[in-house]
Symmetry: C2
Amino acid sequence: MFTELEGFIKSVDEVDKKTLDEITNRFQPLRTVRNEMLCNIGQVCNHFYFISKGCLRLYEIDDKGNEITGYFALEKSIISANTSFMLQKPSRDCLVSLEPSELLAIKRKDFYELVDTIPVFAKMYHQFIEFAFIHSQMRIYSFLGMEGIDKLKWVMEHEPKLLSRISSKAVASYLGMTNSTLSKLRAKL
Amino acid sequence: MFTELEGFIKSVDEVDKKTLDEITNRFQPLRTVRNEMLCNIGQVCNHFYFISKGCLRLYEIDDKGNEITGYFALEKSIISANTSFMLQKPSRDCLVSLEPSELLAIKRKDFYELVDTIPVFAKMYHQFIEFAFIHSQMRIYSFLGMEGIDKLKWVMEHEPKLLSRISSKAVASYLGMTNSTLSKLRAKL
DNA sequence: GAAAAGCATTGTCTTAGGACAACATTCAAC
DNA sequence: GTTGAATGTTGTCCTAAGACAATGCTTTTC
């Protein structure tokens, strides 16, 4: 499990073995089953997760009880209930595993200590958040105003893994449509 | 103009006069008229802007020629054509002033030098990007799946300044609807 | 301060997509 | 493997919102 994390860090920048150990030492392995909740609505999220294997989903539940997916994270990436983690406020999001997953968890305090003391880790976080922001903006541009069929084509082009791996229901909640609409659109292609 | 920037930096963290000067020295004042273009589509954005007075808008033009607003920035905040600035790729966004504005511009190279050498500046950037990300996520959650009337109520509650200050047309492009729809929804309230 | 350009409002018509429901299918758990 | 629950498909019906157009209202510019 730690091999993947080491590879992930190395992909950010060159790093010596000692520094790498300092980083990985702070992470605790964690195995989840399907649909295991890592952060529930109302909790303050105190961990960041690196995904060695598996897949996590971050979603919110709106006034009408509909789920809206904010983010999917696949293996070799990091995720938390970001807003709650950053602001240390009760989360409006749920963070759950979609599959049995192998994770490495780091506590918030340790996380920010590494950010403050280890440049490669700071750079990694910096890249993560820039990417997360850019990705969100891209979704806003792509999904506001776009018609359903174009949203579907957009995911097929930009995030094809989601379609092969993740349930239609969850994908629909990511695209901002109902599962029946998604199903009809798929039939049209 | 520089007074506002100094206040902005001080609001991030305590900072001595010398450091403050090192920061502000890198900024060049810049006055714009209405609708002045600071970064056009296809250009690589090489500046970050602090807004002393006025208001900027970041938007994209989709396949059908419709404008989609990604972001509004009012005085006492910073903005650039973020994606292009971060990735150093040709921008898909246009950055324009909505009003005659007083700006302070900093070159990309200087900007990142300050990020790397002055902790308070790094913290400021860090806060900016965390906020920008959180704001984007909030918009995704709020606007995907929400009905028009609820989006309007949402802006009235969360960003009332936009409605009093910015043209309906631009607000509509921010909410992902046409201006005629927005006008009809307003009449309904 | 007149002319022009850009905005905002309101109307009609049309359509994409939501709600709900019935049924089929897959998947997981025993 | 069997059973039950969750997911996916397809249908009908209906409504929110887009397209387009006509008109009135502001701003800007000369």
